[in-house]
Structures are given as C-alpha cells and as structure tokens.
C-alpha cells in the first residue's frame, strides 16, 4: 500500500468518527459452541491470522456482492487491520466506497479536455463502515460500530443492506424496547409540560407525525431534532438517560398506539374526558380552545354505552 493511499485511508478514518458510531450486535449462532458468525469469523481471521487474511477478505467481498444483489452501483470494499489501544486487541475495519461519476479535467495536451470517469468516492454519503475490535477470544468481537447514512432510509431494503443483510447484525436497542422508551418519554414530557400549551401542542404534533413514520429508523435524538424545540425539547431530553438517546430503533406501531392511545382531561366541574389521541383536535370529536386564558374542552359524539361508577377513572 502506498503512503498516499495509507494517508488517505487514515484521513477518512479520522474524519468518520467511527469510534463513537452506534454499535450493532452480531447475530451469532447461539447454539454453536464457537459463536459462529459469517462476519465475526472472518474478522477474527483477518485480525489474527496473517496467512489466511486475504482469503477471508475475498469471502467478505463475495458476501457483500451477494447482499447487494445487483441493485446498487459497484462498490469498493476495503478491509484493513489496525493496532488497538486495548491490550491484546486488534481493529478490523470494513469500508465500502460506492462508485460515482466524476469530472476529470485533462490539461496535459494543448487543449483542455473534460471527461467523465467512474471513481470510488471516499467522501460519498453512501459510504458505509464497520469497526470490529477486540482480542482473539470467545467473548470478543460480538459487536461492531457502524457508519451507515442509509440506515434511516424509508425503504427498508436500503436501510437493511449493510447492518442486517451484510453484517448479519441487529441494532442494540430492539424495536420493542425503543418504542416503550419513546412512549414513556413522550408521556413524561406531556405531563411535565402541562402548563405550557405551546409545548403540549408540539408533543401532540410529534405523536401524530410518529404514527405515520412507518418503518424508518429513529432515535430519541433524531425525534427531538425533527419535532421539538424550546421547553418541549428540553423536557423530552431530560426524560431519558443520555446513553439511550442516540440508540436507533423502528417504532412498533401497535405497541406505540397501545401506550399512547388516550388523552385524559379532568375539568373544573368534575367531568373527566378520556379521548382517543386521534379524536382530539380541530374538526374531531374533542376540541380544546383557549378562551380568555382558559382552555375550554368541547366533546361531541353519539353515546353508545353508559355506566354508573363509584368514581371517574
């Protein structure tokens, strides 16, 4: 490898900040004694067996080609091994740089010539990387740090290509856990901003938008950036642990609707109104308007059932 190429890769590595990228967990064969896994197995060979590293790199390239399934443009796969600051450990870095069209200005002859070339772009937004680090032990290299700007794509096949299909890995926060966390944080934020109508409106709008977001991957951080500001954002951020906020997950919509299904209003005359979330708002069954500084609720609908209860619940 030339010094220029080495420097270019080092520069790309430093700029990527993959050291702080989200982690995924390899889906190893949990019934196998050696925790077999198509990427982990090859990464251990690449890192610790100098004689067989190139064979493993070839198998990784073949696996990537299979995952891409002729739907993407050609991609350069770079497999490199680096020293690790941790004792006995090594770092294996898998990079992909997609091929893109670039202009090439040739001024070597009398006339300047502009031509189109295909090149592998190290700054491409579609580049992907996985950093696998650890010693050569059964308890190591079970995770990878991952860079994948397409992992939040709306189309699941695109979002899953690197992490799910090639790396055979899962996000560390499951959809069930992430959805439960999100619902709890939204509920806490809603409760704590009770006196702040602007914040309540933001949260209501965010819940409405999240119900329609489909399978797109989100994090608490990305939701805060997209939908909240001011006191709503600050309260939302404070309702979870810092370590949880960057973890990505997809919303389990059935679970989300179960957990954020109703808004409950207690009125000054003892009336309690429990309304499905989607039925609150202008033109819906329950409307809330601000009149002379008070929030006034109006509910309209056909009574289907009536009960006598000891107290409102």
């Amino acid at each position: 490898m030339s010094d220029a190429l080495q420097n270019a890769l080092n520069h790309t590595f430093d700029r990527s900040r993959i050291d702080n990228a989200p982690k995924v967990t390899f889906q190893v064969r949990s019934d196998s004694a050696n925790r077999a896994h198509p990427i982990r197995d090859e990464a251990l060979v690449v890192a610790f067996d100098d004689d067989k590293g190139s064979e493993s790199a070839l198998r990784l390239a073949i696996r990537l080609a299979g995952a891409m399934d002729n739907r993407s443009k050609p991609t350069l796969l770079v497999v490199s091994v680096h020293a690790s600051p941790r004792e006995g450990s090594r770092r294996v870095l898998l990079w992909t740089f997609p091929q893109e069209e670039v202009f090439n200005l040739n001024t070597s002859s009398d006339e300047a010539a502009l031509e189109m070339l295909d090149a592998f772009n190290r700054e491409s937004k579609l580049r992907k990387a996985a950093l696998i680090e650890g010693p050569n032990e059964a308890t190591s290299m079970l995770n990878a740090r991952v860079l994948d700007f397409q992992s939040t794509a709306a189309e699941r096949a695109v979002a899953d290509l690197w992490i799910v299909k090639f790396l055979h890995a899962r996000l560390q926060m499951s959809d069930a856990e992430g959805t439960q966390l999100l619902a709890r944080v939204l509920r806490a934020t809603h409760t704590k901003t009770r006196a702040d109508q602007a914040a309540q409106d933001q949260i209501g709008a965010a819940i409405g938008a999240l119900r329609l977001i489909g399978d797109r991957r989100v994090s608490l951080d990305s939701i805060e950036r997209a939908y909240l500001s001011g006191s709503a954002a600050a309260t939302f951020s404070g309702a979870s642990r810092p370590e949880e906020r960057a973890a990505m997950f997809s919303i389990d919509h059935t679970k989300f609707d179960d957990m954020i299904q109703y808004r409950r209003f207690a009125l000054n005359n003892g009336v309690v109104v429990s309304a499905p979330f989607l039925e609150v708002g202008e033109g819906k069954g329950v409307t809330v308007d601000e009149i002379d500084g008070d929030r006034i609720l109006r509910a309209e609908g056909t009574i289907l059932e009536e009960q006598v209860r000891t107290r409102a619940s």
Partner: protein, 206 residues
C-alpha cells in the same frame, strides 16, 4: 497465574464493582419493562458477582484475562410459575437482547433427574452502560441469564447451597435424585393443571 496478578485482578474487580452493580440494576429495570405484559412471573433478579466468588473463578487456569472473559460478572434470572411460561419469557428476552449462547440444561439421560434450567449469554447493550464503563479497559461484553420455573428453582438452589463435593454416597445420591424427580413431577403436573384451568379450556396459559 501468579499471586501478584490475582491481587491486581482482585483490586481491579473491586474498583469496578459499583459499575457492575449499576448495570445489574439497569438490566433488572429493563427486564421488568420487557416482561411487564407477561403473566406468571414469580421474580426477576439481577446481581453483580461477589468479589470472593469472582476471584475463585478467575484464578482458574483457563481464564488468561478473567476481567473480560468471565461472563457471569453480571447475571440475571427470571422465575416463572409454569413450564409453558419459559418459552414466552425466552421469546421476549431474545427480542430485547442479542443472544450469543442459549443452552437448555437438563439431565443427559432420560432415566436421570437433576438440574433443569435455560441458560443464556446476552450482549450488554451500549445504551445500558454508563459513560464511565467506556473509560475502563477489559470490561465484560456479555452477561448471563437463566429462566426456570419455581419447581426447577426449588431443586436447584438448595442442592447448590448444600455444596457437596465429589461423589456422594449412593444413599445420598438416591435421595437427591428422588427430590429432583419429585420437583420434575410437580412441575409437569402443575403445568398440566394450569392448562386445564385456563380460560375457556383453551389449554393456553394466560
């Protein structure tokens, strides 16, 4: 392994014990959240391994770097009422955590009775670790987990506590086998009764 090394390992383990306890607490909270809709859970408990227990295990020759190789530094257990509940708990937790090992422990021979439990090794998710965790070398990447019924536990815990070494005499072996067989029989029968008494005779425990 040299005595000096073990002393260093002990000190390192003691200094990180509060982080392991915090992780155990966090995992217990998460496991409770994961199983909040699952019925028939008797208890959910996590613990950080005790110092003396860790040192005893770490001194074994097969562990060259015990601080990162021992996977039970943090461990948890769920105890269910009925056998059928084990599969429900297993499915939920395998969705929440990435499993790297899963083993159903049972006597190897059909005619034998003894220890039964489901054992897992799960990866510790990054978002459940504190910031300090990332600063320390050789922290564990995994934790151990067990799922068993009340009757499996009723056999496993006391016989473990007895701590007999070597090969007990035939009379004691026979008595232990009888206790295990009784627990197994009670476990199976209780599960069958629960199925029969399930709503609308569906046969499914709710």
């Amino acid at each position: 392994m040299h005595l000096k090394d073990m002393q260093q390992i002990r000190e390192s383990f003691v200094s990180r014990h509060s982080l392991l306890r915090s992780l155990a607490d966090e995992l217990e909270v998460k496991t409770r959240q994961a199983l909040e809709d699952v019925p028939h859970i008797d208890r959910i408990a996590f613990r950080a391994k005790g110092v003396e227990s860790f040192v005893a295990k770490a001194s074994k020759e097969k562990y060259s770097h015990p601080l990162r190789q021992l996977e039970d530094q943090v461990a948890g257990r769920v105890i269910t009422f009925f056998r059928d509940d084990i599969a429900v708990v297993r499915d939920v937790l395998m969705t929440w955590f990435g499993d790297v090992e899963h083993e159903i422990k049972a006597p190897a021979i059909a005619q034998e009775f003894g220890y039964e439990s489901e054992h897992f090794v799960f990866v510790i998710p990054d978002h459940m670790k504190s910031d300090e965790w990332q600063e320390i070398a050789d922290m564990p990447e995994t934790f151990e987990f067990q799922i068993r019924t009340l009757f499996m536990h009723a056999w496993a815990e006391p016989q473990h506590d007895l701590g007999y070494k070597g090969d007990p005499d035939p009379e004691v072996k026979r008595e232990l086998a009888w206790i295990a067989a009784s627990a197994w029989g009670a476990d199976r029968t209780l599960n069958e009764v629960a199925r029969k008494l399930s709503p609308q005779g569906s046969g499914e425990l709710t």
